[in-house]
């Protein structure tokens, strides 16, 4: 191997690793800004608009503030678990981004560049598994704080995430069933071959997945684990400074992850709308990555929009919703999809 090729082989993974860490971080920054501005606008306010152009530097100002804050560990806390918890939450979310493709592979000269780090035939399963590992961080954080509110928040979070995993699994199964693969790139490719986004083909799957995804990320109206008026701040009540920032960033990164997943599974990833119709062929001129980002931004916006619209669920209503409605619904949906797939 020549020196130049060796350098190329070495450099590309390094750039990819940097990109896979930077990409969620940039999206998180955008998301924090977007959330504060959009929620403010919906409430008739203006929102942060002083730091930088239209307040775009506000998340950085927040981060700097958190960075220089005192790092407090409660006296009776379990120090090891208390310190591990934010790292675990962050790690699981960032690791999941390794399996999320950012676009289709393209060739530079003789080199084929895959826009993801890990090429896995079971990428979908890994992403779902890793996003569930984050629950451990929440349990550890809640338990190790040795305080009642974090513990209550952590308990709620665990019940909620475990319950909502089931409809997520069942709806993902329909997508896997249609595309006959758990490879995320393969799923997008099969939507290109099918000529229609799975979200339009299976609206029930999409809606159940999306609502469960909101619950999975502990977002309003399912933000019971951090219900401010009941639990102070939920599982991260006792955290301050950078450790709190870790939880905060991980929550937003998780939202980006779920949005990416929704786009890939149900809205054709980097495919333009109507990928197979000739009349819309001009949409292919816009690069796939741009389509992908537009779709992700739409779903991130939807997250904020939903947060600003709906009041928080009561806890028993939340559990009732998933066990009495979503699980039977997604199960029936799966059976219908299977039946139709074999009939047609």
């Amino acid at each position: 191997m020549t020196g130049k090729a060796f350098l190329f082989e070495l450099l590309i993974p390094v750039i990819k690793i940097v990109a896979v860490i930077l990409y969620p971080m940039i999206m998180v920054v955008v998301m924090i800004w977007l959330e504060r501005r959009v929620v403010a606008w919906i409430q008739g306010r203006i929102g942060p608009n002083r730091v930088g152009w239209q307040g775009i530097l506000q998340p950085f100002a927040d981060a700097f503030k958190l960075f220089f804050k005192e790092d407090i560990i409660p006296r009776e806390a379990d120090k090891l678990l208390f310190n591990i918890a934010p790292i675990l939450v962050m790690f699981s979310t960032l690791l999941a981004f390794c399996f999320i493709p950012l676009g289709e592979s393209f060739r530079i000269g003789t080199y084929t560049l895959h826009l993801r780090i890990a090429d896995s035939p079971v990428g979908l399963l890994l992403v779902l598994g890793l996003s569930s590992i984050g629950v451990f961080g929440i349990i550890f954080g809640g338990w190790a704080s040795n305080s009642k509110y974090p513990l209550m928040g952590a308990l709620r979070s665990v019940i909620q995430i475990l319950s909502y995993e089931i409809p997520i699994g069942l709806t993902v199964l329909t997508v896997v069933f249609l595309s006959r693969s758990m490879d995320l790139v393969r799923i997008v490719e099969s939507q290109r071959e099918g000529g229609v986004w799975f979200g339009l083909l299976m609206p029930v799957s999409f809606v159940v997945f999306w609502i469960s995804g909101i619950a999975e990320t502990n977002r309003a109206p399912f933000d019971l684990p951090e219900a401010e008026n009941e639990l102070v701040a939920g599982y991260h009540t006792e955290y301050s400074g950078m450790k709190f920032a870790y939880f905060y960033i991980a929550e937003y990164a998780h939202m980006v992850l779920v949005s990416s997943l929704v786009v890939i599974l149900f809205f054709g990833g980097w495919l333009p709308p109507f990928p197979s119709i000739k009349a819309f062929a001009f949409l292919h001129w816009i690069p796939g990555f741009v389509w992908y980002l537009i779709k992700i931004m739409f779903f991130l916006y939807l997250y904020v929009w939903i947060r600003a619209t709906f009041p928080r669920y009561r806890f028993d209503a939340l559990i009732k919703l998933v066990w009495k409605w979503f699980i039977p619904l997604s199960l029936a949906n799966f059976l219908v999809v299977v039946a139709l797939r074999y009939v047609l």
């Binding site: 008739g44 306010r45 203006i46 929009w305 939903i306």
Partner: protein
């Protein structure tokens, strides 16, 4: 029947879409925030700002050092002394100390003043870095000329 209708509305996300459309309307709606340091909200006519001694149109002070405000003030904000100048019919204050840090803006002094000399102005930025900055003496209590007009509240405008 009602139950079925409610179920169908929920199942086809009618209610959710309705809610989202309401918030979307507000998203593009008018914003009520006033960008404070650049834009100051117009104050209500009976706004209770900083207390000021006022002058009449000729520029003569209205205060006759009767100490009615000093007597009625529940928190003892005032310290007033006055003398009658040569050839004058009325007294004039020689000392008029007002302690902002004690004032509760109850307005009793304004009500009791027989010559309407002491009134609320529209100055509301009253923060200071030291307690001594909150003690006002005779010269700062007066407002002159245009400054007076700009600080007159609409109820006091003559």
């Amino acid at each position: 029947m009602n139950k079925v209708r409610r179920f169908l509305r929920a199942f086809f996300l009618v209610d959710i879409v309705q809610g989202l459309s309401i918030t979307l309307r507000h998203y593009f709606g008018r914003k009520v925030t006033v960008q404070y340091p650049e834009v100051v909200k117009s104050l209500p006519p009976r706004f209770k700002g900083m207390l000021r001694l006022f002058r009449d149109e000729a520029g003569e002070p209205l205060c006759i050092a009767c100490k009615a405000c000093q007597r009625i003030c529940p928190s003892h904000c005032f310290d007033i002394e006055g003398v009658r100048p040569e050839g004058s019919k009325v007294m004039r204050p020689t000392k008029f100390d007002w302690k902002l840090d004690r004032c509760t803006f109850c307005g009793l002094c304004v009500e009791v003043c027989p010559t309407d000399a002491i009134r609320f102005s529209e100055t509301f930025r009253m923060s200071a870095l030291g307690k001594d900055k909150l003690h006002f003496h005779l010269p700062d209590m007066y407002l002159r000329g245009e400054e007076l007009q700009s600080h007159l509240c609409s109820g006091c405008l003559k």
